[in-house]
C-alpha cells in the first residue's frame, strides 16, 4: 500500500527542504522525497500542485477531557478535531477526572486512542497527585506507561520546594516538566488581564507579573536542578524576556505560545463574550508583538493551541462565572496562516517548523520530519483556501471559539497519519 503526493511545495525544516518535490509513502512510513518520483504500481496518487506538504503538525497542549468530562470532548471527537485542523498528533493534559496521575489512567487514555483516535495521542502525566500541588504523583510509573511529559496544567504548583523535587525526580526519565506559570496569589479572583480594559469594564484582572514571577521562578529551578522546564502558553512580553535571558545563559527552558495570545488582545474582552476568557488571559498589543517576534526568532520554541473544550452552558451567561479556555485545534492553522503568514509577520517555513519539527524535538516525539523511514505523518496546506469559521461544523464536541465568523485565507487541506488520510 503506497501513496505518492505529487507536485507539492515540500517544506521539511528538519531536513532543510523547501522545494517542489514529490513524497512517496509506503507501509505507513516515508519512503522517499524527491523530484519526479514515479508512482509504484497500484499506488494512490495525490495531486498537491499549489499545496504545501509538511511534516504532520503536532499540538503539544490539548485537553481531550476523557476520562471524566466526555460531555466537553472525548478522545474520538478531539482527535477528529485535530485531524480536521491539520494536526497528526496531540499531547493531552492530565486534568481529567480521574486525573492522569497514575499509570492506569494513562493506559486508559492510550487504549481509547488506539481504538477511537484518528491521530496520535501522547498523554501528559500530572506532576502532583490529583493536581493538588501537595505531593508528587507516581512519576516513574507515568513515564513507564507512556507519558511524554509532566504537567499540572490548569494549576500552578505553587510550592517551589515540591516543584524542585519534581524536576529532580524526573531527571532520569528525560521528559520535560511543563509549567502553567501563574502565581495564584497575584492572580486571585481574576477573569482577564489587569490593565486599562479591566479598569474600564470592571472585571477583576491578573497582572502580567503573575505570570512573569512564576516563569522567573521556574527558570531558576531549571537552573538549580538541570531539568528541562517547558513554559506552557507563554503570554507576556516580560516572560519572553525571561526565557530569552534563560536560554542565553544555557538554562534548559523552552516555551510555547497559542494562536489566540498572538492574535487577540484584552480589547476583545469588552464584549463580555466568555469565549475571550482563558488562563492566561488575553494581554496587550505590546505583548502580542513580543510573542510573534519571539516565535519568529526561536525564543519561543513552538505553537500549541491549549485546546480547551467547554459546553455551551459553561461559556454563556456571566463572564466572571464562565469557564476558562477556548477550543483551538480546528482554527489554529487557518488563523496563523491568515494573520501571521499572510501579512508577512512570520515566514511560512517558520510556521511549519514551529508546528512540526520543533514540538517533536521538544517532547522527543516521533514525527516532525519527512526523512526516509519517518512515520508518514503529513499535513498538507492549501494557501489559497478561503473559508469562514463556522463553529457549528466543528468536529469537536464544543464550540467555544472567539474566531467564529472570521473569514481566513489559507488552511489545512489534507491530514495523513501513518500513511492514511484522516481528512477529509
Amino acid at each position: 500500500m503506497s501513496t505518492l503526493i505529487k507536485h507539492g511545495r515540500v517544506i521539511d525544516p528538519a531536513n532543510g527542504v523547501d522545494a517542489v518535490q514529490d513524497v512517496l509513502i509506503a507501509d505507513g512510513k516515508i519512503e522517499r522525497v524527491g523530484k519526479n518520483l514515479v508512482a509504484p504500481v497500484g499506488a494512490e496518487v495525490v495531486d498537491a500542485a499549489g499545496k504545501v506538504v509538511c511534516p504532520g503538525f503536532i499540538d503539544i497542549h490539548v485537553h481531550l477531557r476523557e476520562p471524566g468530562y466526555e460531555y466537553k470532548e472525548t478522545v474520538a471527537t478531539g482527535t477528529r478535531a485535530a485531524a480536521a485542523g491539520g494536526f497528526t498528533a496531540v499531547a493531552c493534559m492530565a486534568n481529567t477526572n480521574p486525573v492522569n496521575d497514575n499509570g492506569a489512567v494513562t493506559d486508559y487514555i492510550l487504549a481509547k486512542a488506539r481504538v477511537e483516535g484518528v491521530v496520535r495521542v501522547h498523554p501528559i502525566g500530572a506532576v502532583t497527585k490529583n493536581l493538588r500541588g501537595e505531593e508528587l504523583a507516581e512519576l516513574a510509573e507515568l513515564a513507564e506507561a507512556g507519558c511524554v511529559a509532566f504537567s499540572d496544567d490548569g494549576r500552578c504548583v505553587m510550592n517551589a520546594a515540591l516543584y524542585r523535587r519534581a524536576l529532580e525526580y524526573t531527571l532520569p526519565f528525560g521528559l520535560p516538566v511543563i509549567s502553567h506559570a501563574e502565581d495564584t496569589h497575584l492572580s486571585l479572583g481574576f477573569t482577564m488581564n489587569e490593565g486599562v480594559v479591566s479598569t474600564e469594564i470592571g472585571l477583576p484582572g491578573s497582572p502580567a507579573a503573575a505570570e512573569d514571577v512564576m516563569v522567573a521562578r521556574d527558570i531558576l529551578l531549571a537552573e538549580l536542578t538541570g531539568a528541562h522546564v517547558h513554559i506552557a502558553h507563554l503570554s507576556t512580553a516580560g516572560a519572553v524576556r525571561l526565557v530569552r535571558d534563560g536560554k542565553a545563559r544555557g538554562v534548559r527552558v523552552t516555551a510555547e505560545v497559542t494562536p489566540h495570545h498572538m492574535i487577540l488582545t484584552e480589547e476583545a474582552v469588552r464584549s463580555y463574550d466568555a469565549n475571550t476568557k482563558m488562563a492566561p488571559p488575553l494581554r496587550t498589543k505590546r505583548d502580542t508583538e513580543a510573542l510573534v517576534e519571539a516565535l519568529a526568532d526561536g525564543t519561543i520554541d513552538c505553537i500549541a493551541t491549549d485546546h480547551a473544550p467547554h459546553a455551551l452552558a459553561e461559556k454563556e451567561g456571566e463572564f466572571d462565572r464562565a469557564a476558562f479556555g477556548i477550543v483551538g485545534l480546528e482554527t489554529a492553522v487557518a488563523v496563523l496562516m491568515d494573520r501571521l503568514v499572510g501579512p508577512g509577520l512570520l515566514p511560512l517555513g517558520t510556521l511549519v517548523s514551529r508546528l512540526s519539527r520543533d514540538p517533536a524535538r521538544l517532547l522527543n516525539l516521533p514525527g516532525g520530519s519527512l526523512a526516509a523511514g519517518a512515520p508518514a505523518d503529513i499535513t498538507i496546506l492549501d494557501p489559497e483556501r478561503k473559508a469562514t469559521v463556522d463553529p457549528v461544523k466543528f468536529r469537536s464536541k464544543s464550540r467555544n471559539t472567539p474566531f467564529g465568523g472570521w473569514t481566513l485565507t489559507g488552511g489545512p487541506w489534507l491530514t495523513i497519519v501513518g500513511g492514511k488520510v484522516v481528512r477529509p
Binding site: 489587569e194 486599562v196 474600564e200 470592571g202 472585571l203 463580555y272 452552558a313 456571566e318 466572571d320
Partner: protein, 312 residues
C-alpha cells in the same frame, strides 16, 4: 433630540446630549413626588420586571416606586427566593422572563457585564441597575441631577470621588458621565483601592484626602466594604477611617465652605463619613435618594413610554 436606544447599560456609551436628556426628563418628573396623588398614567399597561441578583434595598425600591408612580405593573424577582436558588442559570432565567413579555427588565447583578449579556438575549428594554464593578448608570444620573440642582450647571465643576474606586461601579459611571459634561474628576484613596491605568479614563489621582478635597465643588465618598481588609488591601478599618474618613475638622481645614458631600449609600457611619458630616449642612445624601425616584421614572419613561408620553 430624542431617545433612540433600546437599553440603558452604561454611561460610557452615551453622549452628552443623551445624558442631558435623561437628566432633564428626570428633572421634569420631580414634581410628581409633591402631588397628593402620586400617579400618572404614562406607563399604564406596561410591565416592568426588577431582576435583582444582589441584595439592594434602595435601588430596587426606587425603581419599584418609579414604575408604580408611572402606573406600570412592577414585578420584583430576587435571587434567593426564585428559581436561581434551584440552580437555574442566568440565561435560562432571562429566557423565561422574556417569555412573559415584559416591557422593561431592570437588572442588578454582581457580575460585570451581566446587563449587556442580558440585553443581547432579550428583545425588551434592559436597564442596568448595577453590574459588578462595572457601571451603575441611574446612580450617576441621580448624582448629576443633585449636582445640577445645587450648582445650576455642570461645566467646569470639579468632583473628588474618594474611597474604593477599584470595586466601585458608581465611580465608573460618574467618571464617564462627568467627563462628557465638562467636569473635572479626581479619584482618591489608598493606592490599593485605585485601579491600574485609571488616568486613562481622564481623571486625576490623589493619594491624600487633603489633596483630593481641596478646592473641589463636590466630594463623593464611597462605601468601604469590610471584605477589602481581608483581601489585604487596607491594614484596618481603624486606619482607613483615620486617614480617609471625612470629618468636620478635615472639611473645615481643607475644603471649600460651599462644598457638597455626596454618598451613594449605604453609609458606614464613622468609617468613610463621620455622623456630623453625613447629617450636616454640606450633605446632600438624602437629596440624592429623593432624586433617584425621578431619575428612574425618567429612564423608564424614555425606554417604555409611547411618543409624547413624557408630557404626562
Amino acid at each position: 433630540m430624542g431617545w433612540t436606544r433600546k437599553d440603558l447599560l452604561t454611561m460610557r456609551e452615551l453622549d452628552a446630549g443623551e445624558i442631558t436628556l435623561l437628566v432633564d426628563t428626570a428633572a421634569s418628573l420631580q414634581e410628581i413626588a409633591t402631588r397628593e396623588i402620586k400617579k400618572v398614567p404614562a406607563l399604564r399597561g406596561k410591565t416592568i420586571v426588577n431582576l435583582f441578583y444582589e441584595p439592594s434595598t434602595r435601588t430596587r425600591t426606587s425603581f419599584e416606586i418609579a414604575g408604580k408612580w408611572l402606573s406600570a405593573d412592577v414585578i420584583n424577582f430576587s435571587a434567593g427566593v426564585s428559581s436561581t436558588s434551584k440552580g437555574e442559570s442566568f440565561i435560562d432565567t432571562a429566557k423565561n422572563i422574556a417569555a412573559m413579555s415584559p416591557d422593561v427588565v431592570v437588572v442588578r447583578h454582581s457580575s460585570a457585564g451581566a446587563a449587556e449579556v442580558l440585553a443581547r438575549q432579550l428583545s425588551c428594554s434592559v436597564v442596568n441597575a448595577g453590574d459588578g464593578a462595572h457601571e451603575h448608570p441611574t446612580q450617576a444620573l441621580l448624582d448629576l441631577l443633585t449636582i445640577r440642582e445645587k450648582r445650576g450647571h455642570f461645566d467646569g465643576l470639579h468632583v473628588a470621588i474618594v474611597g474604593d474606586i477599584t470595586n466601585s461601579r458608581v465611580a465608573r459611571s460618574n467618571i464617564h458621565a462627568m467627563r462628557k459634561l465638562g467636569m473635572t474628576v479626581t479619584v482618591a484613596g489608598p493606592p490599593t483601592l485605585i485601579p491600574p491605568f485609571v488616568q486613562e479614563l481622564g481623571v486625576k489621582v490623589a493619594y491624600r484626602l487633603e489633596d483630593a478635597i481641596r478646592d473641589v465643588d463636590v466630594i463623593m465618598m464611597l462605601r468601604l466594604q469590610h471584605e477589602r481588609m481581608q483581601a489585604g488591601l487596607i491594614p484596618s478599618v481603624r486606619e482607613y477611617s483615620s486617614y480617609w474618613g471625612l470629618t468636620l475638622d478635615k472639611l473645615g481645614r481643607h475644603a471649600r465652605p460651599d462644598v457638597l458631600i455626596m454618598h451613594p449609600g449605604p453609609v458606614n457611619r464613622g468609617v468613610e463619613l463621620s455622623p456630623e458630616v453625613a447629617d450636616g449642612p454640606y450633605s446632600v445624601i438624602l437629596d440624592q435618594v429623593a432624586k433617584g425616584v425621578a431619575v428612574r421614572m425618567g429612564v423608564l419613561l424614555l425606554l417604555a413610554g409611547s411618543k409624547g408620553a413624557a408630557a404626562a
